[in-house]
C-alpha cells in the first residue's frame, strides 16, 4: 500500500500541536478549561500523522469564506 502524506492534501488544514506555554496562553485568552474546547479523536488521521498525544491541544488554521484565515483549537481525546 502506498502511503500518502495527508498533511499535504489541499483539503487538510494546517494542524500544529501547541507547546506547554502556548497552551496556557491560549486557554487564558479564551477563558476556558481544556475540556471545554472542541475535541478531536486520537485515531483521527491527521492526529496520527502529526503524532499528537492524548491531552494535547492542536491549533488548526484553515481557510475561511468569511474571515480569510481562521484559527481554532481542539483537544485530543484518548
Amino acid at each position: 500500500m502506498v502511503k500518502k502524506d495527508i498533511l499535504k492534501h489541499e483539503l487538510v488544514p494546517d494542524h500544529v500541536v501547541l507547546k506547554k506555554n502556548q497552551i496556557t496562553k491560549v486557554l487564558k485568552d479564551m477563558g476556558v478549561h481544556p475540556e471545554q474546547l472542541p475535541k478531536i479523536k486520537l485515531d483521527d488521521p491527521v492526529v496520527k500523522a502529526i503524532g499528537a498525544k492524548k491531552g494535547d491541544i492542536i491549533k488548526i488554521t484553515r481557510k475561511s469564506q468569511t474571515a480569510g484565515r481562521f484559527i481554532s483549537y481542539r483537544l485530543v481525546l484518548g
Partner: protein, 1110 residues
C-alpha cells in the same frame, strides 16, 4: 411536606422491579369497589384514603399533609398470574428469539460474545448509540442450536427416561399375565441399548465440533485458502530461483522485489479476510510475520541487501500455521459428517423401536389389553415428541402480547421462567443494563396502582360520582384477578383458568395502552373508548406535546389583523375590547396615585380603567362598581393596580409560524375602535402577513424588566435590518413603491399648496416656501438627512450593455448629494423591503430612531403622492393594438413551424445529438429553446407597446408588484406549460390527450399555450395549464412541510448556542463551538448586505461628497 424543593441530580430510566413496586406502595389493593353506600372510600379499595387526598380540607393518611400539598402515594395489586407488559412485548420477543430456551444463554459463540462485549463497552465509553450493535446481535443470534448447552445431552436424558418407561411397561406386562412375544420385547430392549450408545457417540462428536469451532471460525471457504497457500508457495519458489543463492545482482533483486511485492499484496488482502476467523495465537504469528516482511522490505530498499534467512523463516512459519488451520478445518468437516451419520443411526434405531412396538401383540382380557395398548401408544408418542424437540421452533410474536412457538402459545409464566434463566453476563448483549433492570421484570407479577391524584373522581351536580377511566380499568383488573385467584384455589379446570388468565392479560394490556394493535379497545359504558395510560401521554393532545412542550398563557390576545397606514411601524392598533381585558400591573407610588385612582374610578368597563387591585398582602381584589369606593379609600403606595392597556404600552406581537426572530416584535399600543389588530403595512414582510384573514397574537409584559428589555431589543425599529442578509426586511411595499416612483419620476411637478399638504400629512417639518411649483425630487429630498451622499442603480434600471450613468434615459441612475435627490427616480431599491438602499443607509448611518421616522414619513409621502395622481389598474393596461397581435401570432406560427421542422429532422434522423444527450433529449431541448424564444419575443413585441404611463408597467418595473412576465403572459402569450421540468408527456399511451396522434411531438400536443390570458385559452391549453398549475401547488405544499421539518431539526440542534462577550460561540455547558462567531465575528444584521463593508460604495459616496463640497 410543603415548601420542600428537591434538586434533580439525574434521571435513570429503567424497569420497576416487583420489590420496588411493593416498596413504594402504601397499601395492597384487593377490593374492586371504590366507595361504600355512605360515600366513604373502602379500605384496600381503589380509593383507599392512604393513596392520597384531593379534597383541600382533609389530611392524607400516609403523609399527613393537606389536600393539594400531598402528591399522592402508590398502591399495588398482586396479580394472581403473571402477565406480559404490552410496552415490552417486542423486546421480550427479541430476547427470547436470541436466547436458548434450555440454558438461557445468548445464541452466540464464546468468541462472538467476547467481540460484542468489547464493542458495546467501547460504544458506551464514547457515549455512542448502541442500537445498531444490538440490531446486529439480534440478527446474528439466530442459531439453530445453542453453542453453550448441548441439546444432544437433553436428547440422551430423554431417551433414558423413555428407557425407564419401557422397563415399567415390561414389568406391567409381566405382572398382568398377558402373553406377549418375548422375542420382540427383547428386540426392543436391544434397540434401546443401541439407541443409548449411538446417542452417546452423537454427543461426543457434537462436543468435538463445538471444541473445534471455538478454536476457529470454520465458516470460511477451504478451497480459497488452499489456493492462497499454493500461490504463496509458488511465489516463494519463484523468488528464490530469481535470487539464485546469494547472487544479489541488481536485476535479480528488482525481480525479486517485484515478486515479493505481489506476494505481499496477495497476503494483505487474504489475511484481512482471515483475520477475523483465526484464533489469537495464529493471528499473532501472522501479524508478526507481516511486520517482519515489511522491515525486511524496507531494508531491501535501503541497502539493497536482503536478510533472506529471516524472511523465509517467517514465510515458512506462516505457511505452517495456515496448514495447521487447514488440518483443523478438515477434522471439523470429518466430525460433522460423523455427527450426521450418528444422527441418522439414532433416527433409525428409534424407527426400529416404534416398528417393534407396533408388532407387539397381547393376548388376554380386553380391559388389560387396552390398558397396555394405551401405555405403548403413550411411549410411541413420547418418542416422537422427543424427536420433534430437536428441531428448534422459531418464536413468533402475535401482536400485541402473545408469544407463539410453533403452534404452542407460551404462557406468561413460561416466558418469565425463560427470561429468569438468562444469566446476568448476557444482559448487555440483549440490550439490558444489569444495574438497572432484569428481563423478567418485563413480565408483571405486581401492578402499581397510581395515586388518586392521578385519577380523580368527579362529583356531578346530581351528586353522582363519576370515576376516571384509569379507575374503571383498575376495577376491571381487580375483578378478574379476584376471580382468577378464587378459581385457581378451588382447583378449577385448566381451561377456565386459562380463559380468565387471558382476560386478565387483556385488561392489563388495555390499562397500559388502549390502542394496541390487534386488541379491541376497552370501552366506556357509553361506547367511548377509554383513555388509558399511553393515550394520556401520546400524540398532539398528549401530556408531552400539549402540557409540557406547550403552555397557554394569560395576558394574551388574538384577533384578525388589518392594515392602518396612519400608525407608525412601531405601533400596533389594539381594539378597545381587548384593551379593557388584558392588563398591565402598575405599582402605586405617590406620583401616580392620582392617575391610578382615576383608573379605578373608571372601573373595568370604561377604557382607561382597572380590573384588579392587589393589596400589599398579595390579595387580589376585583374592581366592581360596588367595591370601587372602598378600594379608592384604601389605595396607597405599595398597592398594585392592574390597569387597562393604554397608548404607549409595550406589547409583544407575533404571527405564526414564528420562523425567525422578526416573527415576534415589540410594538407600542395604540388603542383603536373596532375589533381587529391594526398594523403598519411596512411590517407585513417580517411577519409574512397579509390581510386575507390572518390572525395574530399579542402578549402584554407584566414586569418592568421585561418591558425595558423588549423596548431596547425587540422593538420593530430595531429589526429593520435583517440578520439574514444584512439589509432591510422592513420597508415600503406595493403602493409605497409605485407612489414613490410617481412622486419622483422625471417631469413630475406639484403645486406648492399640494406640496405643503403632502408634507404636513407626512409629519415632516414645514419647508421654506419656494413660490413656484415643486419637483417630486425636491419633495422627496425633504425626507433625506442633510449630509447623505449616495449613488445606486434603481430597480427600473434596464441593465443596458453600457451604463450611461448620469445620462441614463430611464432616470434609473440615482444620485443623492448632501441630502438632495439630484437625479433618478425612487422605487423599490430606495426604501422597499428586502432591497431599500436609502433605508439601509439611513439605519446604518443615522440609527434606528431616524430610520423609523424616515420610513413612516416616506411611506406617507409616497401614499400622498399616489393619491394626488390616482392609481388603478385593469386588463385595459395589458391591451395591445391589432397589429401587435398579428405580429405575435405570426411569430408564434413560425415558431410552431420550426418545431415541426425539428421533429421532421428527428424522424429522418437528420438531427445531430448534442454532446452527452440522446437524440430524443436533443430534440426536446431544441424544441424548448425555440418555444422559449418565441414566448420571449412575443413578450418583447407586447412590451414595446407598453409605456411608463401604464400603471401595470409602473408596478412591474418599479418592483411594487408583479413582473413583466406576468404582463406579457396576459397580453401576448402564456408559453410552455411544464410538469417535472419538461414538456408535458403524461396522460394516455404515447400521447397527452386523445385529441392527438400517438407519438405526436408537436408544440400544441405537449402543452404549449399560444394564447394569452387575455385572449383566453382553448380547452386543450386550459387543461395543460391546469396540469402545470397543479404541480406547482403540490410542490409548494411538499416544500413547506419539508423545510418546516428541516428548520425544526436545525433549531433543536442550535437552540442553546449563544455568542459570548469574547466573541466565542458556546453551548450551555460553556463548551466552545466556534472560537469566533461566523469565523469573522461579524453581526450579519450590521454588515453591508453580508459583507463587512462595500468598499466600492464607500468610494463612490466619497466622490459625490467631494464633488458636492466643491
Amino acid at each position: 411536606m410543603t415548601g420542600i424543593i428537591k434538586k434533580i441530580a439525574q434521571i435513570n430510566f429503567g424497569l420497576l422491579s416487583p420489590e420496588n413496586i411493593r416498596k413504594m406502595s402504601v397499601t395492597k389493593i384487593v377490593t374492586p369497589d371504590t366507595y361504600d353506600e355512605d360515600g366513604y372510600p373502602i379500605e384496600a379499595g381503589l380509593m383507599d384514603p392512604r393513596l392520597g387526598v384531593i379534597d383541600p380540607g382533609l389530611r392524607c393518611r400516609s403523609c399527613g399533609s393537606k389536600g393539594g400539598d400531598c402528591q399522592g402515594h402508590f398502591g399495588h395489586i398482586n396479580l394472581a398470574r403473571p402477565v406480559i407488559h404490552v410496552g415490552f412485548a417486542d423486546t421480550i420477543h427479541k430476547i427470547l428469539r436470541s436466547t436458548c430456551r434450555n440454558c438461557g444463554r445468548i445464541l452466540l459463540t464464546d468468541r462472538e460474545i467476547l467481540d460484542y462485549k468489547e464493542k458495546i463497552d467501547n460504544f458506551l465509553r464514547n457515549e455512542e448509540n448502541i442500537t445498531n450493535v444490538l440490531k446486529e446481535i439480534y440478527n446474528l443470534a439466530r442459531k439453530d442450536d445453542c453453542p453453550h448447552c448441548h441439546q444432544s445431552e437433553t436428547v440422551r436424558d430423554n431417551s433414558e427416561k423413555l428407557m425407564e418407561k419401557f422397563e415399567d411397561l415390561v414389568k406391567e406386562i409381566e405382572g398382568s399375565g398377558l402373553k406377549v412375544d418375548s422375542k420382540i420385547v427383547e428386540q426392543i430392549e436391544k434397540s434401546f441399548e443401541t439407541l443409548q450408545t449411538v446417542l452417546e457417540e452423537q454427543l461426543t462428536s457434537s462436543l468435538r465440533i463445538r471444541e473445534l469451532e471455538s478454536q476457529y471460525d470454520i465458516s470460511m471457504d477451504k478451497t480459497n485458502l488452499l489456493q492462497v497457500l499454493d500461490t504463496i508457495k509458488n511465489k516463494k519458489d519463484e523468488g528464490l530461483s530469481t535470487i539464485d543463492g546469494r547472487n544479489l545482482k541488481k536485476k535479480a533483486m528488482a525481480n525479486y522485489v517485484e515478486i515479493v511485492d505481489e506476494l505481499l499484496k496477495l497476503l494483505d488482502s487474504e489475511i484481512h479476510d482471515f483475520q477475523n476467523k483465526m484464533d489469537s495465537q495464529t493471528l499473532k504469528t501472522v501479524e508478526k510475520f507481516l511486520e517482519e516482511i515489511s522491515t525486511v522490505f524496507e531494508k531491501i530498499d535501503e541497502k539493497n541487501q536482503v536478510k533472506l534467512g529471516t524472511f523465509h523463516k517467517y514465510l515458512n512459519e506462516y505457511e505452517k500455521t495456515l496448514k495447521k488451520f487447514l488440518e483443523t478445518l478438515k477434522k471439523f468437516e470429518d466430525a460433522k459428517i460423523e455427527l450426521l451419520v450418528k444422527a441418522e443411526a439414532t433416527r433409525r434405531t428409534e424407527d426400529d423401536i416404534i416398528r417393534h412396538i407396533a408388532e407387539l401383540e397381547f393376548e388376554g382380557s380386553d380391559e388389560e389389553v387396552t390398558h397396555i395398548k394405551d401405555l405403548t401408544e403413550n411411549l410411541v408418542k413420547e418418542i416422537e415428541k422427543s424427536r420433534e424437540k430437536e428441531i428448534k421452533e422459531d418464536i413468533k410474536i402475535d401482536k400485541p402480547v402473545s408469544l407463539v412457538e410453533g403452534n404452542y402459545k407460551l404462557t406468561p409464566s413460561e416466558v418469565r421462567d425463560w427470561l429468569e434463566k438468562i444469566p446476568e453476563d448476557d444482559y448487555f448483549l440483549v440490550g439490558i443494563n444489569p444495574e438497572i433492570a432484569k428481563p423478567e421484570w418485563m413480565v408483571l407479577t405486581v401492578l402499581p396502582v397510581p395515586p388518586v391524584t392521578v385519577r380523580p373522581s368527579i362529583t356531578l351536580e346530581t351528586g353522582e360520582r363519576s370515576e376516571d377511566d384509569l379507575t374503571h380499568k383498575l376495577v376491571d383488573i381487580l375483578r378478574i384477578n379476584q376471580r382468577l385467584k378464587e378459581n385457581m384455589e378451588a382447583g378449577a379446570p385448566q381451561l377456565i383458568v386459562e380463559d380468565l388468565w387471558e382476560l386478565l392479560q387483556y385488561h392489563v394490556t388495555t390499562y397500559f395502552d388502549n390502542e394496541a394493535s390487534g386488541v379491541p379497545p376497552a370501552r366506556h359504558r357509553s361506547g367511548r373508548p377509554l383513555k388509558t395510560l399511553a393515550q394520556r401521554l401520546k400524540g398532539k393532545e398528549g401530556r408531552f406535546r400539549s402540557n409540557l412542550s406547550g403552555k397557554r398563557v394569560n395576558f394574551s390576545a388574538r384577533t384578525v389583523i388589518s392594515p392602518d397606514p396612519n400608525i407608525s411601524i412601531n405601533e400596533v392598533g389594539v381594539p378597545e375590547m381587548i384593551a379593557i381585558e388584558v392588563t398591565v400591573p402598575v405599582y402605586v407610588t405617590e406620583w401616580n396615585i392620582e392617575q391610578m385612582k382615576k383608573h379605578i374610578e373608571n372601573g373595568s368597563k370604561i377604557h382607561p380603567g382597572a380590573n384588579y387591585v392587589i393589596r400589599p398582602d398579595e390579595r387580589k381584589i376585583r374592581v366592581y362598581d360596588e367595591t370601587k369606593e372602598s378600594i379608592l379609600e384604601k389605595l396607597e403606595p405599595g398597592y398594585v393596580v392592574e390597569r387597562h392597556l393604554m397608548d404607549g404600552d409595550i406589547v409583544l406581537f407575533n404571527r405564526q409560524p414564528s420562523l425567525h426572530r422578526m416573527s415576534m416584535m415589540a410594538h407600542e399600543v395604540k388603542v383603536l375602535p373596532h375589533k381587529t389588530f391594526r398594523l403598519n403595512l411596512c411590517v407585513c414582510p417580517p411577519y409574512n402577513a397579509d390581510f386575507d384573514g390572518d390572525e395574530m397574537n399579542m402578549h402584554v409584559f407584566q414586569t418592568e424588566e421585561s418591558r425595558a428589555e423588549a423596548k431596547s431589543l425587540m422593538r420593530v425599529q430595531e429589526h429593520i435590518l435583517s440578520p439574514r442578509f444584512g439589509g432591510p426586511i422592513i420597508g415600503g411595499i406595493h403602493d409605497h413603491i409605485s407612489g414613490g416612483y410617481l412622486l419622483t419620476r422625471a417631469g413630475s411637478v406639484f403645486k406648492e399648496e399640494d406640496v405643503f399638504q403632502m408634507v404636513k400629512k407626512s409629519q415632516l417639518p414645514m419647508p421654506e416656501p419656494k413660490n413656484r411649483d415643486w419637483t417630486g425630487k425636491e419633495i422627496f429630498s425633504l425626507l433625506l438627512p442633510d449630509d447623505l451622499n449616495m449613488v445606486y442603480k434603481a430597480e427600473i434600471c434596464r441593465k443596458c450593455d453600457e451604463c450611461l450613468r448620469e445620462e441614463c434615459k430611464n432616470d434609473a441612475y440615482v444620485v443623492i448629494e448632501k441630502g438632495e435627490l439630484m437625479m433618478g427616480a425612487i422605487d423599490e431599491k430606495a426604501f422597499g423591503a428586502f432591497s431599500g438602499k436609502i433605508l439601509d443607509s439611513v439605519v446604518k448611518e443615522y440609527g434606528t430612531d431616524h430610520a423609523r421616522q424616515f420610513l413612516d414619513s416616506a411611506t406617507k409621502l409616497a401614499i400622498s403622492g399616489i393619491m394626488k395622481r390616482g392609481f388603478t389598474t385593469s386588463t385595459a393596461d395589458e391591451e395591445i393594438p391589432r397589429e401587435a397581435k398579428d405580429r405575435i401570432e405570426e411569430l408564434l406560427n413560425n415558431a410552431e413551424k420550426r418545431v415541426e421542422q425539428l421533429i421532421e429532422a428527428y424522424h429522418n434522423e437528420e438531427l445531430e445529438a448534442l454532446p452527452g444527450r440522446s437524440l430524443r433529449e436533443t430534440l426536446e431541448m431544441k424544441i424548448m429553446q425555440v418555444l422559449g424564444e418565441a414566448r420571449d419575443k412575443s413578450g418583447e413585441i407586447a412590451e414595446s407597446y407598453f409605456g411608463m404611463d401604464n400603471h401595470a408597467v409602473i408596478m412591474a418595473l418599479t418592483g411594487a408588484r408583479g413582473s413583466m412576465l406576468n404582463l406579457t403572459q396576459i397580453a401576448a402569450c402564456v408559453g410552455q406549460q411544464s410538469v417535472r421540468g419538461g414538456r408535458i408527456e403524461r396522460g394516455y399511451r404515447n400521447r397527452t390527450l386523445p385529441h392527438f396522434q400517438e407519438g405526436e411531438l408537436g408544440a400544441k400536443a405537449s402543452g404549449f399555450v399560444q394564447s394569452s390570458y387575455k385572449s383566453g385559452l382553448d380547452p386543450l391549453e386550459f387543461f395543460f395549464h391546469a396540469m402545470g398549475g397543479r404541480e406547482g401547488l403540490v410542490d409548494t405544499a411538499i416544500r413547506t412541510a419539508q423545510s418546516g421539518y428541516m428548520q425544526r431539526r436545525l433549531v433543536n440542534a442550535l437552540q442553546d448556542l449563544n455568542v459570548n462577550e469574547d466573541g466565542t460561540v458556546r453551548d450551555n455547558r460553556g463548551v466552545v463551538i466556534q472560537t469566533r462567531y461566523g469565523e469573522d465575528g461579524i453581526d450579519p444584521a450590521k454588515s453591508d448586505f453580508g459583507k463587512v463593508a462595500d468598499i466600492d460604495r464607500i468610494i463612490e459616496e466619497m466622490r459625490i461628497k467631494a464633488k458636492a463640497d466643491k
